[in-house]
Amino acid sequence: MKYKLTLAAALLSATFFASGASAKTFVYCSEGSPEGFDPGIYTAGTTFDASAHPIYNRLLEFKSGTTQPEAGLAQSWEISADGTVYTFKLRPNVKFQTTDFFKPTRNLNADDVVFSIGRQIDEKNAWNKYISGATWEYADGMGFPKLIKSIEKVDDLTVKVTLNRPEAPFLANLAMPFASIVSKEYADSLDKAGKKEQLNQMPVGTGPFTFVGYQQDAVIRFKKNADFWGPAPKIDDLVFAITTDAAVRYQKLKAGECHLMPYPNAADVKAMKADPNLQVLEQEGLNVAYLAYNTTKAPFDKLEVRKALNKAINKKAIVDSVFQGMATPAVNPIPPTMWSYSKATQDDTYDLEAAKKMLADAGVKDLSMKVWAMPVSRPYMLNARRAAEIIQDDFAKIGVKVEIVSFEWAEYLQRSKDKNRDGAAIMGWTGDNGDPDNFLDTLLGCDAVGGNNRAQWCNKEFDALVKKAKVVSDLAERTKLYEEAQAIFKKDAPWATIDHSLSVVPMRKGVTGFTQSPLGDFTFEAVDIAQ
């Protein structure tokens, strides 16, 4: 019996590695199923990894391993002096993928760009609601419908975008997955055939890999795009083996059933590093976890109270216990990998005696408060309950009694943004486009009070700085403005900044060319495997 099973295993589990002699097949054990393949209508990174990155390109792309936008389908661009008119020159001779279901007859041109962005911002566009319930969450979240006044074709390879106001992060926004360029010719052919929904199921783009097929919740297959305009991918086939459980992903990686996996369990990382068949990459993630006080409610409206509580939190204990060291204590509201990160900011030192004294000086005695713990694990906060317990323990040492509360996730999101929320809420954020505006204004701006600004903190001075930085195009000046804003943030302490987690990527030995993205994307066009 043992012999038979072993033989079967030898025959069967040899899987693709044995068959890879003729073609290089790279298998990625992805963490979930894509919601669809049109990046414009979704918001999940899992969906973008399976659609925007392998299949599509954007006018600008984030330079590999950075958050710096560089030329993508747009070879160059000009910005008018008032910062409201962007003229993009498209790369010539870019071909859309040829698939079993679509054979393009022309190269990429301005029509494709106007179509791809236009459908997201114009409700009257025939493709705005091309499938039931289609919404353009990212375009809307980035304010595109109000920001973009017009998008026009100047000639075949020139596109002009006119904005209603200057917006410095606009170029970075165009490099985001939702702004992927789809083929208008393909869309027209689907429209003609009465199969519009196929745009979301059988995608065609200009990216490094061509879509081959998707077996729901199981496997997505791509092959190398032979016509790709950039450096040709080194692998022939790319396969996403959807494996939702992190422990199972690890077993698959160990067994050689996949080459690379995302989001390992923190507890497994040590063993992964010790495994001679694996290599582990690490990078600080573009994220932050924080404890947001409700700065409009007593006693948290008092700066001394917030500062005292900040001094009582042992961030290192949280990093060690929740992340097993796979995180760094956070000082600023933006991560250290982001440009304009202020190194001058001094963190509140962990000092229980000083904290006690500050509370007493503020006239606060026998304080009881709620700490809200998220019910879900996110990259920036793996176990909010555990973090809340550590905070509870810390606060008890300075005489503050903590009640930990939690709600189902959707309810938590809803209730934690309430202006009358009682207590401090653990929350976090992962950056979308690498621009500090995406953290500082989105999470702490006055407009976001009652929304993303869960501290309900509106500091006019801070707000003026981040609003100004949004319309200035000079990077040095923007950096200075954001540094000043961070100093005000730290001084006013609307949050206790908790951590920036590390992004850990385990992969098989022999995998080369993979670069970790600070944005958390998984892209494989430069990946190679030793045969």
């Binding site: 295993a9 919740d217 996730w409 999101l413």
Partner: protein, 334 residues
């Protein structure tokens, strides 16, 4: 028999409507707003929220939504997923064969091992075999599926590497689904080694999913057999000098099977619940995993549609069990 069938079907109609009301209303009783979840941590403006709610028809009174939904269901339109925007029925039929295949293999294992084990335990009542078997059955019944599955993966896939860790077939095989059943499709594909690969991928999840039903069936068979074996007619059969095989295999087992068949029928429902965990751990692309994901995303359309379809299938299976009952025991037909 035909009248019996009609009576059973007549009961199914109000049951189906009841299930549709429960499926529709229960998910809406849960806290959590599906529209707000679409944007995750990114807070949606109230205007945008209202706009999307209207677009999805969620701003209408619940009664209107329900009758609209029921009307759709009666014409075969179960709506589209709020998250993926794909039609529910398409998704269901794409995933359902995987669950059926897994559940079928699990029930075959459970029946093929559970009934003989129960019979032998009953015949050898009080022996070490009986006590050992029932002890194992109790452990099997109490086993948390998630833990059990992970344990098997670590041992048989990770350490011994006898079986693949997860999935339905090795990634080296690629063929379009014909029936959706991997065992059949792999045979139809004509690709060498595909069928064996599908079997090897099915082994561990089937064993995990079969564990609880196997324990239940073994215990039920044992107790039913014990009861029947003490009946007068069995004694008479023995007194007539019939072989032990005929006494047990033909006279006793047939009557003992009635409660066992009921149990097997009920296990189909239990199995669908177990499939949720088994599918999650083995990355098995079936409806269990699909439903769980949808609950977390508050995807009302998928949850209500999926529940209704699953309930319809369970009702159908129970109908078949009732008919089998009638075949085995003619008195029930009347």
């Amino acid at each position: 028999m035909f009248g019996f069938l009609l009576r059973r079907i007549a009961v199914l109609i109000p049951t189906f409507i009841g299930v549709s009301i429960i499926a529709f209303s229960f998910i809406r009783l849960l806290p959590g707003d599906p529209v707000a979840l679409l944007s995750g941590e990114r807070v949606m403006s109230p205007e945008r929220h209202a706009q999307i709610s209207a677009q999805l028809g969620l701003d209408r009174p619940l009664v209107v939504q329900y009758f609209d939904y029921l009307g759709g269901v009666l014409t075969g339109d179960f709506g589209s997923s709020i998250v993926s925007k794909k039609p529910i029925l398409d998704q269901f039929w794409a995933l359902f064969p995987a669950t059926v295949e897994l559940s079928f293999c699990a029930i075959v294992i459970a029946v093929a091992l559970g009934i003989p084990a129960g019979v032998i335990a009953a015949i050898k009542r009080g022996s070490i075999f009986d006590q050992g078997l029932m002890g194992i059955a109790l452990v099997g019944y109490s086993m948390p599926i998630f833990w059990w599955g992970l344990l098997l993966i670590i041992l048989f896939s990770g350490t011994l590497q006898w079986f693949p860790v997860s999935g339905r077939i090795s990634l080296m095989f690629f063929f379009p689904p014909v029936t959706g059943f991997m065992l059949i499709d792999s045979l139809l594909s004509g690709q060498k080694g595909a069928f064996a690969s599908a079997i090897s991928h099915l082994a561990l999840p089937s064993i995990v999913l079969a564990t609880i039903p196997l324990a239940v069936i073994a215990r039920q068979t044992r107790s039913a057999m014990l009861e029947v074996l003490s009946e007068d007619y069995v004694r008479t059969a023995r007194a007539k000098g019939l072989s032990p095989f005929r006494v047990v295999g033909i006279h006793a087992l047939r009557n003992a099977m009635i409660p066992v068949i009921t149990t097997i029928g009920l296990q189909i429902g239990v199995m669908l619940a177990g499939a949720i965990l088994t599918e999650t751990i083995f990355s098995w692309p079936g409806i269990g995993k699909w439903m769980v994901d949808s609950v977390f995303r508050r995807d009302y359309a998928v949850i209500q549609g999926g529940l209704l379809l699953i309930a319809a299938i369970i009702m159908f299976v129970n109908l078949i069990v009732d008919l089998l009952y009638g075949l085995i025991n003619p008195r029930i037909r009347h």
